[in-house]
């Protein structure tokens, strides 16, 4: 799972067709804006999540909110795919206001829906990429389902935090070029059962490279939905 976070202009070098003069002006403006902020030097933050047996926990969503106030979130298009009667990724994190495509690359048709308060929507029966992207404009957890296949459940975390992402297969989320300063880190997952208060903490990021480790105390929750089977009929 690749981390998703708000990117500073320094990570988007001017494209080659922009002239040298325009590029220099753009860089100057970017640097000026950057240094006007309370953060002057970037840092890398690595967040690691392990269960009580020391095994890595993937698909956990992590969000970072600067103590000094958040800049407005920048929407970014994302994709929630459907393959082998499952949502891929199972857990997706997007910035509030983002549009999400729901292509169906499965061999069977699906009917995607959500009745979550953060976003209610329905995508009638389809295969391929029939429907336009869905805009997620309210922060919160959106639980996805398929009206044909009850074993399909997916999760979209819609966040107003400027920095966020989900842990990879090694239980790690690496956030790069993070402005140094104080942050509130919160861990969210449909499978983590630890008390919510133990899943949020304040950190001060000063060094060039920092690692924060979340060690869970309670076992992870098993999948609440029925187990998917290839040729299971609804009897």
């Amino acid at each position: 799972m690749s981390p998703i976070f708000q990117q500073s202009a320094t990570r988007n070098p001017p494209r080659a067709r922009i002239g040298m003069r325009a590029g220099a002006i753009a860089t100057w403006i970017t640097l000026s804006c950057f240094c006007a902020a309370p953060y002057c030097v970037a840092s890398n933050l690595s967040i690691e999540v392990f269960d009580r047996n020391g095994h890595s926990v993937d698909q956990a969503m992590v969000e970072l909110v600067p103590a000094s106030g958040s800049p407005a979130p920048v929407p970014k298009p994302a994709v929630m795919d459907q393959k082998d009667k499952a949502f891929t990724p199972e857990v997706l994190a997007v910035s509030v206001g983002s549009s999400v495509d729901f292509p169906n690359n499965d061999s069977v048709s699906h009917q995607v829906y959500s009745f979550s308060a953060a976003k209610r929507f329905q995508l009638p029966l389809y295969k391929g990429q029939l429907h336009p992207p869905v805009i997620f404009d309210t922060p919160g957890l959106v639980v996805l389902g398929c009206n044909i296949h009850d074993s399909m459940v997916g999760y979209i975390y819609v966040t107003a935090a400027p920095f966020f992402g989900t842990t990879d297969a090694h239980g790690v989320l690496a956030l790069k070029d993070l402005p140094k300063g104080d942050y509130r880190i919160t861990l969210l997952s449909p499978y983590i059962t630890d008390d919510a208060s133990s899943l949020t903490r304040s950190v001060h990021i000063e060094a060039d490279s920092t690692t924060e480790r979340f060690q869970l105390k309670l076992p992870l929750r098993t999948r609440p939905e029925p187990r998917p089977r290839r040729r299971d009929w609804d009897y």
Binding site: F115, P226, R231, Y235
Partner: protein, 406 residues
Amino acid sequence: MRLVLAALWMVLGLGCVRATAQSSFTLDGDLDVRWGHTSGETSFLNGGYGLLRFDPEHDGLVLGRAFLAPTWRITDIVSLHAVIDTYGDHNRNPVDLSECYLDIKPFPSSALRWRAKLGAFYMPISLENRGPGWTDVYSITPSAVNSWIGEEFRTIGAEFEIRWLGASSGYLGDLALVGAVYGWNEPAGSLLAEQGFTLSDRSSTLFGYLSSPPIGFYHEVDRNPGYYAGVSWHHHDRLEIRALHYDNRADPYAQTLSGFYAWHTQFNSAGARFEPGEHWTFIAQALDGSTSTAADEPDEPLFLMRYRAAFALASFEWNKERVTARYDEFHTHQLTDYYGGEAPGNQDGHAWTLAFTYEPSEHWQLLTEWVRARSSFPPRVELDESIIQTQSQFQLAVRYRFDLGS
């Protein structure tokens, strides 16, 4: 000859549908060819009191079953399902419907989702028969409980389900309540009274006959609608519990001019399927009930029979293989009058089933199964047989399975 005809029919059907297959039309199907070796008495399907589908006179290379299961999505929330069957035996209709119904399933706008079925379909009772066409996914032959359901029962009416989608709401699982009103099934119970419980994957079809002498199960006799009500709970992806109360509310004194009798059949069933991990499945189900019908003479008391059956199953699945072991126990007891003969049709029996399945590819499945059934059934004396019989049946099945246009 029957095998060849069935294969031709299947190929023809495939060809027609492949041309028109699209996302609103899907087609599932199986072609199941078997070789069997059976010992013991003549099967109930061929005029004997044997519990198993085949017997020494009717085994060898046979068509196990061929079915086509088309689904047409008429709108986003309404679809039409049908299962068209052939078993290659002496059914009245060589090709027949075993299910045909409209399924109405709106999108949920809250954690409560309702669903309705209209037509002819299986009641939601079996935890084994979860494959297309109500096939048993753990063995070839279903348990005695679900063999009986397949033989004598089809809901011909309307079923309504309301499901609380707890799994999508942050809770431990889903809870569903289901109820149905139906008719055209008053003869249900007659085969049980005649033969006792069986172990057979030969389900009845809507317009066909089963057993010998033949019985047709789908007739309206008394114009009294029956009902069932049930509850199911999915706990995480591990456990499913189902309970159902069935009562066809038949008038036991009713009969049609064409000779079909109404049987007042009622039962309670409860079962659970536990899947603790990726490999193991455990299923247990029990059923307890009674059936009654009028005696031949008007001044005689009602024929009344109680019955109960249960099974426990353990199955281990790994890679492309699955091994299943099941133990069945079943009893019937006539409380008043004898039905159909001089000896009471009181059955006491048990059976062991061992099955192995292997799926070398997406479309092919190889199955082998051994069933041993031992039962006591006094009416056997009418055939000059011992009351207590032991039968065994070995089957080797090759299945070709497909799904088109999904």
